[in-house]
Structures are given as C-alpha cells and as structure tokens.
C-alpha cells in the first residue's frame, strides 16, 4: 500500500486530540448530570475570608504616601552604611572618612532636592 510518511503524524494528531478532549467531555457530562451548579450571591462573592466586602475596590489613594516611602529610602540607605562606619570609625584612615562624607552628601542631596520641590509639605 502506498502511503505518505506524514500519515502517521495525522493519526497521532487525531489520537492526541481525542485523548485530550474525551476526559474533558466526560467531565462536562458528569457535571451536568451529577453536580448541578448552585450559584448564589454569597457563593459568588469575591472576598473569601468569611467577612463581607465593604466599599469599592477602586479607591483614591494619595500619591504622597508613595513619595514619602521613596524619600524614606534616603534615611534607610544612610543608616545602613553609617552604622558600620560609626562602629569602625577609630580604625579608619582619613580617606575613608572623606569618602563617607561624600556619600552622605550625595544621599542627602536627594532629600534637599525633594524638600526644595515642596514634596514634604503634606497637602
């Protein structure tokens, strides 16, 4: 018999399709026959910790919080490096102290800039 070498691919494709679709179809038929859907306002509620959802999800959020959180990073990074610097202060050469001073000034510059832009005024 004359056949194309691609026949096998077609057969495999059909078998794979049936293999995947038959269980899905059985599950669908089973669900229709033996487990009737019983939706309701509580069952379909979005919140699922037992409490009722209050208000709306899309609320207005003051962007100042975000800016404050960003500016807090200045102090966060500063304390991270200042503490080990302070602990090892007596053993450090002059160059290290100057480098630290430059670093602190660089970081504080951001704070000064934000201050001058008026971000720290709570509106």
């Amino acid at each position: 018999m004359d056949y194309s070498p691609y026949t096998f691919l077609a057969v495999f494709f059909v078998v794979a399709l049936v293999f995947a679709l038959v269980p899905l179809a059985i599950a669908r038929i089973w669900a229709r026959k033996f487990s009737p859907a019983k939706p309701g306002p509580q069952k379909n509620a979005i919140y699922e910790c037992g409490l009722e959802a209050k208000g709306q999800a899309p609320i207005q959020f003051k962007s100042e919080y975000y800016l404050y959180a960003i500016i807090f990073l200045v102090f966060d990074v500063e304390i991270l490096f200042l503490l080990p610097f302070a602990v090892a202060f007596l053993q450090l050469p002059l160059g290290a102290s100057i480098a630290m001073l430059v670093f602190v000034l660089l970081v504080v510059e951001g704070l000064v800039w934000a201050w001058m832009k008026g971000i720290l005024d709570w509106k």
Partner: protein, 207 residues
C-alpha cells in the same frame, strides 16, 4: 442481573458489577480518600486539629492533610471550637462559599452544644442550629484520635452516598438550595436564632 446467576458466575471466577455500582464506587472512593478540610479554627479544639494533621497522628493517612485556606477549595468544614454569636455569620458564610459536595464536622463540646459556655449570652448553642452537621465529636477538647474517628465516620458516610435513586445526597438534588440563610445581629439575639431547615428546638413534654 439475577443474584443467583451472579453468585454462580463469581464461583467460576467471573465477577459482575452494575454500572451504577461502579460509578458510585469510583465517585465515593475518590471523594472520601481526598477530603480537603478548610483551614479554620475557632478555639482550643483547633490545637487538637493541628496536632491531628501533624506527624504524630498524621491525618495524611486518610488523605485529608491538605488544609485549604480558601473555602473555594475545601470539601469539609471542621468547626473546631466555640462559635460565638459574632462568629456565627462568618462561619455560615464560609460554609456557603464552599463548593458542593461539602461536609461539616462539629468538633468539641462548644461546637456541638455550646459546651462549658452554654449559659453565656454570646455563645451559639451548637453550630448544628445553622449548618447540616455530618459528624459530632464530643469532648473538651476531643483528642486527635477522636477527630480521626470522626474522619473515618465521615468516610463511611460518603461511601454510602448513591448517585442514583431517591436517596441521592443533598448536593445532587437540584431543588435543594446551595446557600443557607445567613444570621444577622438583631436587637437581642442573632436573627434568625436557628435555621428551620436543619434544626428545630426540642419540644418540651410536661406530664
């Protein structure tokens, strides 16, 4: 098939089974061997429930170790502890949010009757006033062995479910509602004080 023929065939090594029995067996044994409880504890009974799920008592032997933090994924609600009147609406709401089929185990004296706090003004005198409880466990608190026994009892109950016929389980009946009425805070007590569909106060008979 006639029973005589069936037993005659089985003597010859040919076992026959009804399609309905096969479906029931597959359905029930797959459900009863992987019950997913809701991760949900109310009081000291929850400690015993946690102990049951840990290595020493090992609830995993019964296929029920997967405690789900969401009611959407749970089959079984273990009411482990005192249900206060403030908590009752939340418990009922969680139950309503669970998918069918669902089961309830009332664990401990408080959950089944109010227990030592029965006289308290704010304690529900048994969660079976609002939910269809399948297994009650007495004890204050019940030991993990008692919870394991309740699990096995529930498994036996699930095994007895039939997909066909008039005594099919509650969830398979389309006319039975999927949600139970939610109690709310009234002026003096929660309203309604109990769900008439699952519980009625006992009638006092005086002679």
């Amino acid at each position: 098939m006639d029973e005589g023929l069936r037993s005659e065939l089985s003597k010859q090594g040919i076992f026959t089974v009804k399609m309905q029995e096969l479906l029931n067996w597959g359905y029930n044994s797959s459900r009863k061997n992987s019950i997913w409880p809701l991760q949900f504890g109310l009081a000291c009974c929850a400690i015993e429930m946690i102990a049951t799920s840990m290595a020493r008592y090992d609830l995993a032997r019964f296929g029920a170790e997967v405690f789900r933090p969401s009611p959407r994924q749970a089959d079984l609600m273990i009411v482990a502890g005192t249900v206060t009147k403030k908590m009752a609406p939340q418990v009922v709401r969680l139950y309503n949010q669970m998918p069918e089929p669902k089961y309830v185990i009332a664990m401990g004296a408080c959950a089944i009757s109010g227990g030592p706090f029965k006289q308290g003004y704010n304690v529900l005198k048994g969660i079976d006033r609002f939910l269809p409880v399948d297994v009650h466990i007495p004890g204050c608190p019940p030991r993990p062995e008692a919870l394991l026994h309740a699990f096995m009892t529930l498994q036996r109950k699930i095994d007895g479910d039939s997909l066909f016929g008039p005594d099919k389980p509650r969830h398979a009946d389309e006319s039975v509602p999927g949600e139970y009425p939610l109690p709310a805070f009234g002026e003096h007590d929660i309203e309604p004080p109990y769900n008439k569909a699952v519980w009625e106060p006992p009638v006092m008979a005086r002679e």
